[in-house]
């Protein structure tokens, strides 16, 4: 019986114009956008490869350790699944300096500058966005007359004259519509995967296919949720035209208006102004360190004169070629530090006696720098959290009141392009910085002659720990997507129960 019902509904749906149009338009949009995103991904990958190679070479051109600033760079590779949900993958910086003068964060990162800034004016449309807009609309179009239509035409009455449970009818309608909606979803995904495999730059691993499975599952739940919303409206209203109007406005509100409205609202909520105070604190710590350092230099009978009475950058020794003063001062991201040093190709015999003193000084200076960074990080980390992460997370949480937001969050988590995944990368960079510092400590590089002079052996960059970053595994992605998936599932179940109750009690 149930099968007969499903077959009838399925045929009804499949033969309609709306089904053909739905399949056509979904395919068109998915294919067009896959092509665009694929090119974009390839471009970013090329930029990543060039930049990685370049910084590898640039680091090896340096002969002394102190000149590793700006040369030891960690690069974030583009995520191939960003084609399915771009998330923050493209927006956030992908090139970050590793240095003992600051703790690397998302905000310190720069972008590989291969793209035209004016192209950022156009939103990149990923496949999740296409599904989010189109499939939800289609689900509503399939659903609005599911019950109200039959009631209007009187066919519902006819069906109910047979000894069929009402739940069966509901279930048959749901299953057949979902089967119909699955067609454009799967075909278009298949096409886009075929397109991806034609590209030589993208390799999808088994894990990636598991992630894609997760995206399909999420899409299914999302579509089903919108279908149930439509059915609910259809069960509540007596006339199809009213049901249709309500469906369209609900769609417009949930997909188009609510996400933008709520994020604008988050934008205008006042935030605690911790930025200025935190920045001043950080600056004070550095200035204190600077004072101590200068005090020490001035009181030192040998080093003082070499550094222009404790005021200069680096030291003026015989054979010294360059001095540098490196500083960053960005109040908006609470970044403040300065470092000085010098480079000597070959230290002259006259200055030779001072070398141990210099080494000793640099041990103090570098260690103190690392300590100061550690102290400022205790202020900086919570402040950055309050200024950037909290509002962003608040926005993301509020977005989840709309199924569109839930869907976006879940697919982002599956694709591995959400904020947590990006933070994974920067945590890896922070660990890497720690590893480099440990290496410097163990090998006594901060106090070595090679820190500033290139005459007794040069810096051995190959012995330095290598940076490597692996995208988090599927289990982590799944764990991150699960809460949203669960929410989607629960709303589905609740809605189905509600519809069932309404339908069972309704008079035909």
């Amino acid at each position: 019986m149930l099968l007969t019902l499903i077959r009838r509904e399925l045929l009804d749906n499949l033969m309609t114009f709306r089904f053909a149009a739905a399949v056509f338009i979904t395919l068109l949009l998915v294919v067009a956008n896959t092509v665009v995103l694929l090119k974009d991904y390839e471009q970013r990958l090329t930029a990543y490869n060039t930049a990685t190679q370049e910084s590898y070479q640039r680091l090896r051109e340096e002969k002394t350790y102190s000149y590793y600033i700006g040369k030891l760079v960690a690069h974030r590779p583009p995520n191939p699944l960003s084609i399915f949900n771009l998330g923050l993958d493209k927006q956030v910086g992908n090139k970050i300096n590793v240095y003992h003068g600051f703790v690397p964060t998302i905000w310190d990162a720069e972008k590989h500058r291969s793209d035209n800034p004016f192209l950022n004016l156009f939103t990149s449309i990923d496949i999740a966005l296409v599904f989010q807009g189109i499939l939800s609309l289609l689900a509503l179009i399939f659903a609005y007359d599911a019950l109200a239509g039959e009631r209007e035409r009187g066919t519902l009455r006819l069906v109910l004259t047979h000894p069929i449970r009402r739940g069966y009818i509901l279930f048959a309608k749901y299953i057949s519509a979902m089967l119909c909606l699955l067609v454009p979803l799967l075909i278009s995904l298949l096409l886009s995967i075929v397109l991806l495999t034609t590209s030589t730059t993208i390799f999808l691993s088994t894990n990636d296919f598991l992630r894609l499975g997760g995206i399909v599952l999420t899409s299914l739940l999302y579509v089903s949720l919108f279908y149930l919303i439509g059915m609910w409206i259809s069960a509540m209203t007596r006339r199809t035209s009213t049901a249709l109007m309500l469906c369209m406005f609900v769609w417009g509100f949930l997909v188009l208006v609510y996400p933008n409205l709520i994020l604008t609202a988050v934008e205008i909520t006042p935030q605690p102004d911790t930025q200025a105070s935190a920045y001043n604190q950080i600056k004070q710590m550095w200035e204190e360190f600077d004072r101590e350092n200068k005090q020490l230099l001035r009181n030192d009978p040998v080093l003082g004169p070499l550094s222009r009475d404790g005021e200069g950058w680096g030291f003026y020794v015989e054979g010294g070629e360059y001095t540098f003063g490196m500083s960053e001062d960005k109040p908006s991201i609470l970044l403040y530090f300065f470092q000085t040093g010098f480079y000597a190709g070959k230290i002259g015999a006259e200055s030779e006696p001072q070398v141990p003193r210099l080494q000793n000084y640099y041990r103090f200076y570098n260690r103190e720098t690392v300590n100061t960074v550690q102290r400022t990080w205790l202020v900086r980390e919570p402040a950055l959290e309050a200024i950037y992460i909290h509002p962003a997370n608040l926005g993301r949480t509020l977005l989840k009141f709309s199924p569109a937001g839930l869907y976006d969050a879940a697919t982002e988590a599956w694709a591995g392009t959400n904020l947590e995944d990006i933070q994974d990368f920067f945590n890896a960079v922070q660990r890497y910085r720690r590893a480099v510092l440990d290496y410097f400590d163990d090998e006594k590089i901060f106090e070595s002659r090679q820190w500033f002079a290139a005459d007794h052996g040069t810096a051995d960059w190959d012995a330095l720990p290598q940076f490597s970053f692996q995208r988090s595994g599927v289990d982590v992605n799944a764990k991150r997507a699960l809460p949203d998936l669960f929410l989607l599932l629960m709303t589905n179940l609740i809605l189905f129960t509600v519809i069932f109750l309404i339908f069972v009690r309704s008079e035909v």
Binding site: A22, P117, F118, V257, A392
Partner: protein
């Protein structure tokens, strides 16, 4: 005709969609107002601080003409638009300033002359919030109002056809075009009533607030924007009537309209732009940078070949010529790269003109003074100012008979102090006529689209068999 329009209007006024549309528009416009009134004073304050800081820095350099010639005018800031509530123009994705400064290596132990640079970073780099569209007029009209227009028109003809009332109407001695016009007017007025009310509310709240003063020019721009909105609404009503008459079934007509709407309004403007931008790709940034370094190295090598290392000081005349040409060449090279990028942006935008929604977005941005076209005007202003500033330095130097007139060489320039008041200051201005020129084609296209759709709707309706 008026009778039909009136009937349509009454029908709509009592309908569910009218109520929902009004509530939706009201909520959106209120958010828009609150957002603008909160953010705009901050933006203005930040701009004034930055601009006055830049002027102070510039005046601080007036101690000698040499400093002015080598250090340059400093940062030039882009003035925020008064009408940002009409179109945000994705300003967060555009650079906020140009920088006329000295940021290259020293050459032949000389400080080189300043040059104009256009930074590529955008304020959006540090943003980790979810992406969203600001609720400006462009969004409310482009997306929401067009959506509402579709919902008002999809059953205008097919619905009556299904109910059979169209037959009844046409049984009277009314020509068909009058019926169509009546329907058109009815829908038009019923969409316009809530929209005009919320727009008025928006404008009244903004203009009565102390934080913002709308000047007559701004009102003129708002007037133009309002007529653009009218055109846009008409366009979607005509589209709705056309499909409604051509398809005959309201269910199908809605599906067709929605799919057209989704493709043209939501997806096309962005997807087409990305496809279009591939047809005109500037050289990669790395390539640009290598070439730039190669140019500088070649110039330096040529200079060294001629005059040896800095051991024997060549005559200041030669040096003066060298530093000047080096700066000019660098600036020209930068400008040519910027031009390539702009051309790519223009190409990408030109292709999106197939979609009326993209056209309207451009019109909004241009008349609100935000976005891409506005940024181009800023760049033009900066370039004009660059010339002015250079001329000022040369002219001031020329006025001093003791000077050797060698710009960029300390001993070759006028040693007299410069009057800080006399240094030209950067003013970022907007010209309405230029805005108008930039989008004249778009305006024309919009009218053409409307013409095609209206005549299409007319033909479809006249040939409709009932």
């Amino acid at each position: 005709m008026w009778h039909i329009a009136k009937r349509e209007l009454y029908d709509n006024l009592n309908s569910l969609r009218f109520a929902l549309a009004t509530v939706l528009l009201l909520a959106l416009m209120l958010t828009n107002t609150v957002l603008y009134l909160r953010e705009h004073p901050k933006r203005i304050q930040a701009y004034h601080n930055a601009a006055s800081g830049a002027v102070k820095t510039l005046e601080g350099r007036s101690t000698s003409l040499y400093r002015l010639a080598t250090e340059g005018p400093g940062d030039l800031h882009k003035a925020p638009s008064l009408l940002r509530f009409c179109a945000e123009g994705d300003e967060a994705f555009l650079p906020t300033h140009a920088s006329g400064a000295n940021f290259v290596r020293r050459i032949a132990d000389r400080t080189p002359i300043w040059r104009m640079g256009y930074p590529q970073e955008t304020p959006n780099l540090r943003n980790i919030r979810p992406d969203f569209a600001t609720l400006d007029w462009a969004f409310i009209v482009g997306y929401v109002l067009s959506f509402i227009a579709i919902l008002f028109t999809f059953d205008a003809i097919s619905g009556e056809l299904e109910r059979g009332t169209l037959r009844l109407t046409l049984a009277n001695a009314i020509p068909r075009h009058t019926v169509l016009m009546g329907k058109f007017l009815g829908v038009f007025i019923s969409i316009n009533i809530p929209f005009t009310i919320v727009v008025l509310m928006n404008l009244i709240l903004i203009s009565t607030s102390d934080a913002v003063q709308l000047n007559p020019e701004a009102w003129g721009r708002l007037g133009i924007l309002y007529s653009v909105i009218i055109l846009y609404i008409c366009l979607f009503i005509a589209l709705g009537l056309l499909i409604s008459a051509a398809v005959r079934e309201s269910g199908v007509s809605l599906v067709v309209l929605l799919l057209i709407w989704v493709s043209f309004v939501v997806f096309m403007p962005n997807t087409l732009a990305s496809i279009g931008s591939r047809t005109l790709v500037p050289i990669a940034y790395e390539e640009f940078w290598t070439q730039r370094i190669r140019l500088a190295d070649a110039a330096r090598a040529a200079y060294r070949d001629k005059y040896g290392d800095s051991q024997i000081t060549p005559s200041v005349h030669v040096l003066g010529e060298y530093v000047t040409t080096e700066a000019e060449e660098h600036e020209r090279y930068n400008a040519s790269y910027l031009k390539q990028q702009i051309e790519q942006g223009k190409r990408a935008r030109a292709i999106t003109r197939i979609s009326p929604a993209a056209i309207v977005q451009r019109l909004f941005e241009s008349f609100a003074g935000t976005g891409f076209e506005r940024h181009l005007q800023f760049i033009e202003n900066a370039q004009r100012y660059t010339r002015e500033y250079r001329e000022f330095v040369v002219d001031t130097d020329r006025a001093d008979p003791e000077s050797l007139h060698l710009i960029g060489i300390q001993e070759g320039m006028s040693q007299k102090p410069v009057n800080p008041e006399a240094i030209p200051k950067f003013k970022d201005t907007l010209s309405l006529s230029r805005d108008f020129d930039a989008v004249a084609t778009d305006l024309l296209l919009l009218v053409l689209f409307l013409g095609v759709l209206v005549s299409g709707a007319y033909l479809a309706f006249v040939r409709l068999e009932i």
